[in-house]
């Protein structure tokens, strides 16, 4: 059984202290010194190669003939600071849209995934609909969905349906991302070994209880990293609703740029997106690393 192994020996220090007077052997001391030397050498190599590569790149960019013009039109920080409040206001639209959309996407995506993985005969029509939905909206570029919903729905002139481009844009984002998230959740559900279901059912748990208490908790834990990936992508893709005329960060930057023909607002908008996406990406990395550690700790059973 490999369950106990592979946990404690990683931190380098001796994991066990059976004997009271354990003396580190000459052999081990020599090994530790050799390891330390090798680490130092590796750090030195990494530093040198980074300086070399990055230095070369920066030199190429800075010495290029158009660099002066470029830094004036893209990196005029004083101007950037001036337009920051307006772009930040637009960016709040992106943040709000992301929050609302991710809640709706979670609910719809989960429903679609559950319907697609259900086996009961009564669900057959819903299963077909869910499969069709996922196929359709995973296969269309989101920009097209936004255009079709944003301009198509108002054209229907149905009473009571909004013409608000912000709402329509949000709906388009939700429609598309629900299809993506449904597939991530479905793969998580299918990844749980059938023996877990068998164990739960043999305890007398109903199909729904098995899903609720045994399958879903494990599936969700497993797909958290890819779901966080989708969240990062969702934040960026909210910028696409600007095509409908929604004043988000992208649109706000566009408005400023068209006034002055200076592209710094675009850079500012990009930095605002990065301020949110980079921390989230790091968080994704961390959860991924944790779930791998957990899996390794679980062994073969």
């Amino acid at each position: 059984m490999s369950q106990e192994s592979g946990r404690s020996s990683e931190d380098g220090a001796a994991p066990y202290s059976f004997g009271e007077n354990w003396q580190v052997s000459e052999l081990e001391i020599a090994r530790r010194i050799a390891r330390k030397k090798r680490n130092q050498k590796n750090i030195l190599i990494a530093t040198l190669s980074s300086i070399l590569v990055l230095g070369t790149l920066i030199t190429i960019i800075v010495t290029s003939p158009g660099f002066k013009l470029l830094s004036k039109t893209f990196f005029k920080w004083a101007y950037g600071f001036e337009v920051l409040p307006k772009i930040l206001l637009g960016f709040m639209t992106n943040v709000g849209l992301t929050i609302i959309a991710s809640i709706c996407v979670g609910a719809i995506g989960l429903t679609l995934a559950l319907v697609r993985t259900s086996k009961s005969a009564a669900f057959t029509p819903f299963r077909l609909i869910a499969t069709g939905y996922v196929d359709l909206f995973r296969g269309i570029p989101m920009l097209l969905v936004i255009l079709l919903v944003g301009f198509g729905v108002p054209a229907l002139q149905i009473k009571g349906i909004t013409n608000n481009v912000l709402i329509l844009g949000t709906v388009a984002v939700i429609i598309t991302y629900s299809a993506y998230v449904a597939e991530v959740l479905r793969s998580g559900i299918l990844s749980i070994h059938p023996s877990q279901r068998a164990a739960a059912r043999s305890l007398g748990l109903s199909n729904f209880q098995t899903l609720r208490y045994v399958v879903m908790p494990q599936a969700l834990r497993r797909v958290t990293p890819p779901l966080l990936n989708d969240l990062v992508a969702l934040i960026k893709d909210t910028g696409l609703v600007s095509i409908l005329g929604v004043t988000d960060a992208v649109r706000a930057a566009q408005i400023q740029t068209s006034r002055t023909f200076n592209y710094t607002p675009y850079v500012i908008a990009a930095i605002l997106f990065l301020c949110v996406t980079i921390p989230l990406t790091r968080l994704t990395d961390r959860t991924l690393r944790k779930s791998i550690e957990r899996q390794n700790a679980q062994g073969v059973a």
Partner: protein
């Protein structure tokens, strides 16, 4: 031989074109243990899964306490409340602690209060010497401990019949004993059991009847001393000889 807890009548099961079980008929009286032996692929596991309605049979009948559970209108969830099943690969829920594993079904299936379920679980845990593991996750337990928790999880539902499917096959020899002694305790407390196992010595101790399964049929059956020491059929002889050579009798 009154009160059979389980009765199988001419049970038949196939997967596609492959016939897995044929003409299986047994009677398991209350407080007895019936042990199935046989090579891998002889149908032992499938038989237990059929009884627990995890597989649908092709023909025949399964009676639990005289009630036909193979009838179409039977609710499998209600049947499974009466039957406990323990698997070769433990199948504990890895996201729950030992205690949570044990109390899940009593709370959700038997609708017991959390407090009642917990105190009953602790009773079981201390009886089998695992009280201090109550709040550990399964991956911190040895294989033997995990399997004993799996047995307790089934016992928490107070089943009429316990189905044990090669519960020691995934354990190393040192851990096998602690699991087997747990089963011996259960047997002496009067639990009715059906087991599939490769542990012949254990079968001899615990079984009231041993059935030898060969290619999906019960080739020979009888009292453990008779079948394991004086088998009549040449195939049974051959099988027991092979197991002896492997050093497990």
């Amino acid at each position: 031989m009154s009160n059979p807890v389980l009765e199988l009548k001419q049970l038949r099961k196939s997967f596609g074109n492959e016939l897995v079980l044929e003409d299986i008929s047994i009677i398991v009286p209350v407080h007895t243990a019936t042990v199935f032996i046989g090579a891998s692929g002889s149908g032992k596991s499938t038989l237990l899964r059929c009884v627990n309605l995890l597989e649908r049979i092709d023909d025949g009948q399964i009676l639990v306490d005289g009630e036909d559970i193979s009838a179409v209108d039977v609710d499998p969830d209600l049947v499974r409340r009466k039957l406990g099943m323990v698997f070769q690969s433990f199948n504990l829920f890895p996201h729950m602690t030992v205690l949570e594993n044990i109390i899940l079904a009593p709370i959700k299936v038997h609708k017991k209060s959390r407090g009642e379920a917990i105190s009953e679980a602790f009773e079981l845990l201390s009886r089998f010497g695992l009280k201090e593991k109550a709040n550990q996750y399964p991956d911190r337990l040895s294989g033997g401990q995990q399997q004993r928790v799996a047995i307790m999880r089934s016992l928490a539902l107070k089943p009429r019949l316990l189905l044990l499917d090669e519960i020691t096959s995934a354990l190393d020899p040192v851990l096998v004993n602690e699991v087997l002694s747990t089963v011996r305790d259960l047997k002496s407390e009067g639990m009715t059991m059906v087991l599939a196992t490769h542990e012949m010595g254990f079968a001899k101790q615990v079984a009231d009847e041993v059935c030898y399964l060969h290619n999906g049929r019960i080739l020979e059956w009888g009292a453990p001393e008779q079948l394991l020491e004086n088998p009549k059929q040449p195939q049974t002889k051959e099988f027991i000889k092979r197991v002896q050579e492997a050093g497990r009798l």
